[in-house]
């Protein structure tokens, strides 16, 4: 068949050749990709004719042409078409093709298959490897922020390897998970934090982003309903790289850099200096009616010799000056080395890689190391049969710390510790003699310098074996079996001398977590074209999954030697504990796609899921979707509209579910472990609910994809996602002995508009400039809730945003007395100095942004490229949970405060928001849940800027390289915040709560990538 085609082409060519014999010339040339690799089988046609040829195995071609000049049209699947002018004098050409910018011919991975972009009926966005590779971030989800409309991805903690929160089209649940489902090479995998003693961790950080070919985000029902009860929060499909047939390609990617705080020095929370603290110390006691002499006496009792005073409290000399925050701050180092090989033949193709990645936070101790390797192998013994195996191994080592209001949190204790307490004692050890009056003698500098440990290592092995067999023409059977094994070993140690281990002579906790996730998927796929215009494909499948996680926790105390930290050295073992937890899913699913003349598309999917997570009465659920699209640009009436390149209208409607709750929440449970006096005990631990089932989400989506004037492309999309039967830990009267009951209760709607625009403003051979961006307007509303739920700082109330703050409204400081004031109610007409006369109310502020997104620009001139990406979020509020302690106006004697307290009220007439300073507090001025701690989080941040230079092929080939690229990159180099006095990093957790975490990183790095 193929031979016949070639023969006919050749024959035709010969005839044409003869016909125009009188004037002709020969063109020779090569066709390569952007990196200089030959493209085999590229089509070269003389424009406006059927004259042409294809490139051979070296990418070269030769063509005899009539006349003196011609224009060649060069095409290759997946690459942008290119026109090249040739003539009898310009008859030797090197043509390099750029990978397709026009996204409408891209192959997109979707649930249980792949499709062409133009065939999509659902809302699907893809990120390709170039946007992920060598970004100095620990995990791939971090790279999604700002790149995909409708998706928020935040860490809220700069700890390398921290958990990343991803929300696709808003928060869809109250108590259940709002995290999307992660699918790697077709396998739903464990994501998030599975550790027990670490503050934050991310199993996904085991994946080397350089191994990723594409990340595809599925957003609407047409795309996600095939994932049934786990599709409601969206699905992130990650496809790893595979080999292409051709010469082996070796790539070495290296990068080194430095990490600092993402917010500039002037915008950080500052600790008090010794002088400031000493002044406030005396003032704090004097404001309790004590004499200055008595206050000095107290000071000298706490900090003997730290400060020399005059007779009336004048500070004459500071003898001890400790800046605890400065002492734990460093410039972190990051480095990454990645070596990969790929290639193959028609029968075997491979991609193999090994990499090392290391990232240090700007806080001492905090860091991450990753070692990973991957082998993706595909064997195709004949046309009908394919076997592939993707195997990856990785090891993560993370060194972390506490956050929140724990004394072990260095960014909490570091502010509290009085600057007149020395860091080192007179023996040169880390000082710990303040334990009798100061937070257990915690010393964050010592703790993070090796006196304590909080770390884990994680080994993850993922193997994904599949076989495809073509049973008949158009009919394929596929069986895929995957195993995902995660082994986590945590080690937590507190030294005997100071801090949390002091009373038990040191203690340690060792944790082992073993997770095995297996999944088997069997599918049959049939596709056929009827009567040339009707294209149908259908899929049916069965899938079973079981996940089992086992944990062992052991603790011991009484350590003889602070260097020997394994539990064998602990004189007193205090805990031996193990448990396991499991879940299963069993599902059948089907999808049918139909199109007429590649113009009108219809898709439908259905999935029936059963899961162990749900009550016996409601164990199975069925989810479905319908999608339609219309490629208007294919219509005759638009063919002549020259400025329209692409135009597609699509819409979808359907349901999916959210099964993201605990494994046994439907069961009424009597749990053990509540021992007494060495004898085992059990207690009711869970009320249970046999009717418990998944949340149902009903999704509507309508979108328009367009390409205009040959340079502008984009998508406008409206979505509405109604989540019903919300799994809700509904607060119940604690007189029952429980504080909440998990029920399917309540409804919520996320609706919004997503706009994505990309423009190739200049597009020439040696110079190109493109800009792009996306914006998402998101509206969240609780649509059904029988009773209000007050959850810490927030209220869940019908008709309001899920993340609406519910706080006492702080009215500042009474200028006459220096005491705090609050508004009594939402009329804000009356102020009170007594918190018990104030009420909390809704003031319309929420942690949900009004709009968010990203902007990017890329400039290429010859081999030089300059890329920049901005991310932004507007209208979201942040609540500083630790401020009531760190800026507590002296409520916690004698803990230091921050420089914000320097603006405190001192004398009648002072106008300020900071009340006067008094040890023991000032009339509840630091009460929780008030707007004094609420800040506007609106910001724009330069997420990424990269300047790169690709050395000319002519140069690199001389030293035997295929390609070489050097670059400099900056992450989070610049941040603008709407609130000019904001002292926190504006990129916080989705819930807007800031708990004194490790600061987000600013990274400057330099890289060299070489291809062989």
């Amino acid at each position: 068949m193929k031979h016949a085609k070639h023969f006919m082409l050749s024959a035709l060519f010969s005839i044409l050749t003869i016909a125009v014999l009188h004037a002709q010339f020969t063109v020779q040339g090569t066709v390569t990709d952007a990196t200089g690799d030959p493209l085999i089988g590229a089509t070269i046609l003389v424009k406006g004719t059927t004259t042409g040829t294809t490139t051979d195995i070296d990418g070269s071609f030769e063509l005899r042409l009539p006349g003196q000049e011609a224009t060649l049209l060069v095409t290759y699947t997946g690459y942008a078409d290119r026109e090249v002018a040739v003539s009898s004098t310009n008859n030797n050409v090197s043509i390099s093709l750029q990978e397709a910018v026009s996204e409408l011919s891209e192959v997109i991975v979707v649930g249980y298959g792949e499709t062409r972009k133009e065939a999509l009926t659902g809302s699907v966005t893809s990120l390709r490897s170039e946007q992920i590779e060598q970004v100095p971030l620990a995990s791939v989800e971090q790279a999604l922020q700002g790149n995909i409309a409708g998706l928020q991805s935040v860490m809220g903690n700069g700890q390398p390897g921290a958990n990343v929160q991803v929300r696709i089209r808003g928060i869809g649940s109250i108590s259940a998970s709002s995290e999307p489902l992660y699918v790697i090479d077709g396998i739903p995998v464990t994501s998030g934090d599975i550790t027990r003693t670490n503050t934050t961790a991310n199993t996904m950080a085991s994946l080397n982003p350089n191994d990723i070919e594409a990340v595809t985000v599925l957003k609407d029902a047409a795309a996600t309903s095939i994932y049934g009860s786990r599709g409601a929060n969206g699905v992130i499909l990650i496809t790893t790289k595979s080999g292409r047939s051709g010469k082996p390609r070796i790539d070495l990617k290296t990068q080194v850099g430095f990490n600092g705080w993402a917010v500039s020095d002037s915008r950080r929370l500052k600790p008090l200096t010794a002088e400031q603290y000493t002044e406030m110390y005396l003032e704090g006691w004097m404001n309790r009616g004590e004499t200055v002499q008595r206050a000095m006496e107290r000071f000298n009792g706490h900090y003997p010799g730290a400060v020399d005073f005059g007779p009336n409290g004048e500070i004459q000399r500071i003898n001890i000056e400790s800046d605890w925050i400065d002492a734990i701050t460093r410039t972190g180092f990051n480095q990454s080395y990645d070596l990969s090989a790929s290639g193959g033949t028609d029968a075997v193709s491979y991609y193999a890689s090994g990499s090392y990645f290391s990232q240090e936070a700007p806080i001492i101790y905090s860091g991450l190391d990753r070692y990973s390797s991957r082998l993706n192998l595909k064997v195709k013994p004949n046309e009908k049969f394919t076997i592939s195996n993707n195997l990856s191994l990785s090891r993560l080592e993370q060194y972390g710390m506490s956050d929140g209001s724990f004394w072990a949190n260095p960014l909490y204790t570091g502010y509290f510790l009085a600057p007149v307490i020395p860091i080192y004692d007179d023996q040169g050890r880390f000082y710990g003699d303040h334990q009798s009056f100061f937070m257990g003698g915690n010393n964050p500098v010592g703790s993070l310098s090796g006196d304590d440990n909080r770390q884990f290592d994680q080994i993850r092995i993922m193997d994904n074996l599949s076989a495809d067999y073509q049973l008949a023409k158009g009919l394929k059977f596929r069986t895929a079996w995957a195993f995902d094994m995660i082994n986590v070993q945590e080690f937590f140690y507190r030294n005997p001398r100071y801090g949390d281990g002091r009373n038990v002579n040191g203690y340690a906790t060792e944790t082992a977590i073993n997770e095995l996730n297996w999944i088997g998927t069997q599918t049959l796929n049939y596709s056929k074209t009827f009567k040339t215009d009707h294209n149908v494909s259908a899929l049916v499948g069965y899938e079973a999954q079981k996940n089992r996680r086992k944990g062992v926790i052991t603790t011991g105390e009484q350590y003889p030697n602070s260097e020997l930290r394994t539990l064998q050295n602990a004189a007193n073992p205090t805990q031996a504990y193990s448990d396991f937890t499991e879940y299963t899913f069993s599902s059948i699913f089907s999808r049918v796609d139909y199109n007429y003349q590649l113009k009108y598309y219809l898709s439908g999917s259905v999935r029936r899921d059963g899961s162990s997570r749900f009550g016996r009465n409601n164990r199975y659920g069925t989810f479905w979707s319908v999608g339609l699209s219309w490629r208007m640009d294919q219509e005759a009436f638009l063919q002549d509209v020259s400025f329209i390149d692409d135009l597609k209208l699509r819409t979808s409607y359907g349901t999916n579910g959210n099964a993201g709750i605990g494994n046994y929440e439907h069961l009424p449970l009597f749990g053990f472990g509540a021992d007494y006096d060495g004898s085992p005990g059990g207690v009711p631990t869970e009320i249970g609910n046999v009717n418990l089932t998944w949340e149902t989400s009903t999704n509507f989506n309508i979108g328009l994809d367009f390409g205009l004037f040959n340079f502008l492309s984009g998508t406008v999309e409206y979505f509405s996602r109604e989540s019903d039967n919300l799994l809700l830990a509904r607060p119940i009267s604690s007189t029952t002995g429980f504080t909440s009951l998990t029920q399917n209760f309540g409804a919520m709607r996320n609706s919004g508009l997503e706009l994505t625009l990309n423009a190739n403003i200049i597009s020439r051979d040696n110079f190109s400039w493109g800009v792009g961006g996306n914006i998402t307007f998101l509206k969240n509303e609780v649509t059904r809730l029988d009773e209000d739920i007050i959850d810490g700082t927030k209220i869940r109330k019908e008709g309001y945003d899920f993340q609406t703050f519910y706080l006492y409204e702080y009215a500042g400081v009474d200028p006459a007395t220096g005491t705090p004031l609050w508004y009594t109610d939402e009329s804000e007409s009356t102020m009170t100095g007594n918190i018990n006369d104030a009420t909390r109310f809704i003031s319309g502020r929420s942690a949900t942004p009004d709009f968010f997104g990203g902007l990017n620009t890329n400039l290429a001139f010859k081999g030089i490229t300059l890329d920049a990406q901005f991310v932004y979020s507007f209208g979201n509020y942040l609540y500083d949970t630790e401020a009531r302690f760190l800026q507590g106006d002296g409520s916690l004697t004698p803990r230091s405060q921050t420089q914000i307290n320097l603006q405190r009220w001192r004398e009648p007439g002072d106008i300020t928001d900071v009340p006067y300073f008094r040890w023991g507090g000032n009339n509840n001025s630091n009460v929780a849940n008030m707007t004094r701690w609420l800040k506007d989080g609106s910001h724009i941040r330069l997420r990424n800027v990269t300047l790169a230079y690709s050395l000319p092929n002519t140069l690199v080939s001389k030293v035997g390289f295929r390609s070489a690229r050097i670059y400099a990159r900056g992450v989070n180099l610049w941040t603008w915040t709407k609130d000019k006095d904001l002292y926190m990093d504006p990129e916080a957790a989705i819930n807007g709560l800031v708990e004194s975490p490790v600061p987000n990183l600013k990274t400057i790095s330099f890289g060299l990538d070489i291809g062989f």
Binding site: S436, G610, S612, P668, G681, G682, G737, L741, G921
Partner: protein
């Protein structure tokens, strides 16, 4: 050839795999957790009763309950305790400025009701056991009735005004919970109703328990009687109070410590006068949150003994042995710390009820009934146990009652009694040795009662907040 493979092998396999869903899913989807049993069938045997009873005691160990706050909070509100300079925990109670968001109040409320649910799990289990062990089952249920009574008694003390606050005892008490109902939103019963329930549960407890319980870490018949003595004392039922105190004293199971053994007994898990104490082992130690560590230098050391009580103790009294010098203290803070719960490594037991209290209850009950000789005898016994050379008490009338009150204050200091004694005698708190912001709180006062947690008011529309705490 290929067609044959397709027909005979692959196609059936594919179909089979697709059909697996029907065959194995039911069993595949039925999973049970590793650390828990079905709640509805949790108690099937005597051993299950035992486990549930242990779980109930375990609840009493919480730092929100007998592990710390339920003892600490009333003491810091009283005139026995003053605040160290860096006192940061129960300070809002010490200064009488707690608000409805208070975490300690919420912790106590939730924890104590959780203990009630644990007790109800035992009481309401309708499980038959062999006749040979029926008495053991009854014993367990008796323990549960006593714990349920104790928990209601503790809640009504901390969250409601004292019994005699209104003449008919008709002021708001706390919700009574005797059965588990996840939907219940109970209103507050009156204090009278709550006390009636407490008495009824304790009497039920006494009647169920027939086995001698030698281990004071568990509730015995005498524990229930001792609690009946205390509850009746609070109610002013003097005859009943005396009767139950006498039963415990005469049981022969307990004896007063000798003078030399007294101070050291606080280092021990229990002593000959322990009737019921909450025991701790290293695995249920509350760590920095243990009661004793609020006082000792190795812990938070937030609270110090007030000279108001220390000054009452005569020179040479064995009870001065529960203090310890701290050279780092000076000035108004004094020089000593409370060392009644001295162990920095393993949490000391919290005494719930001791024999000496029975003598002091009886002394007061006898004095109120006019038996002054008997009262003098009881109070002298306790006083001379502390200081053998002390004079016998000979006062009468109000003087005798004052002597009893003083002895009670010294004997039971830092065990969470003082505030309730002041309340039932309708006295305010007047601190002379005072390091806090609030030194005098006159009686009556809304602030002697903790706020109902806002969370509960939000979740339970029938719950009425205590006066003085806003809406």
């Amino acid at each position: 050839m290929k067609k044959i493979i397709f027909k005979t092998f692959i196609y059936p396999v594919a179909v089979m795999l697709l059909l697996m869903t029907a065959s194995c899913s039911e069993e595949f989807l039925e999973l049970q957790p590793s650390g828990a049993a079905d709640l509805n069938s949790a108690i099937q045997s005597l051993d299950d009763y035992k486990a549930a009873v242990n779980g109930m005691y375990s609840g009493l160990q919480s730092a929100n309950y007998y592990g710390r706050y339920f003892i600490l909070v009333p003491d810091v509100m009283s005139d026995d305790v003053k605040q160290n300079a860096q006192a940061n925990r129960a300070r809002d109670f010490a200064d009488y400025v707690a608000n409805v968001q208070d975490g300690i109040a919420a912790g106590m409320f939730n924890t104590i009701y959780n203990v009630i649910n644990r007790a109800n799990t035992v009481i309401n289990a309708e499980t038959e056991v062999p006749a040979a062990v029926q008495n053991q089952k009854d014993q367990y249920r008796g323990e549960a009735f006593a714990v349920r009574a104790l928990a209601h008694f503790d809640l009504v003390r901390i969250f409601a005004q004292h019994y005699g606050f209104t003449s008919g005892n008709s002021h708001a008490g706390i919700p009574i919970v005797t059965v588990f109902d996840q939907e219940s939103k109970p209103a507050r019963s009156t204090v009278a109703e709550v006390y009636t329930q407490i008495i009824s549960d304790l009497e039920q407890s006494v009647s169920l328990m027939t086995i001698d319980q030698a281990n004071p870490g568990r509730i015995s018949k005498e524990t229930a009687q001792a609690l009946l003595a205390r509850v009746n004392l609070y109610m002013g039922n003097w005859a009943r109070a005396e009767q139950f105190a006498t039963s415990v004293i005469n049981s022969g199971n307990y004896s007063l410590l000798s003078n030399d053994a007294y101070a050291d007994s606080w280092n021990q898990q229990y002593s000959s006068e322990s009737i019921f104490s909450i025991f701790f082992r290293s695995d249920d130690d509350n760590g920095s949150d243990a009661l004793g560590r609020m006082y000792i230098v190795e812990g938070y050391g937030d609270y110090l003994p007030s000279q108001d009580v220390v000054g009452l103790i005569p020179e040479g009294d064995a009870r001065l042995g529960i203090f310890k010098e701290d050279p780092n203290l000076s000035g108004v803070l004094g020089t000593i710390r409370v060392n009644k719960y001295p162990n920095p490594a393993v949490q000391n037991s919290t005494p719930v009820v001791r024999l000496s209290e029975m003598y002091l209850i009886r002394a007061e009950a006898r004095a109120m009934q006019g038996n002054e000789a008997g009262a003098q005898e009881d109070v002298t016994l306790i006083r001379q146990r502390g200081l053998p050379t002390a004079d016998a008490v000979t006062a009468t009338g109000q003087g005798l009652l004052d002597e009893i009150e003083k002895e009670r204050r010294i004997e039971l200091m830092f065990e969470g009694h003082r505030l309730w004694d002041l309340m039932r005698k309708k006295q305010g708190v007047f601190r002379t040795d005072c390091t806090g912001l609030t030194c005098e709180i006159s009686y009556p006062n809304d602030r002697f009662v903790a706020p109902i947690p806002q969370r509960e008011v939000d979740a339970n529309p029938n719950m009425v907040q205590n006066p003085g705490y806003g809406s």
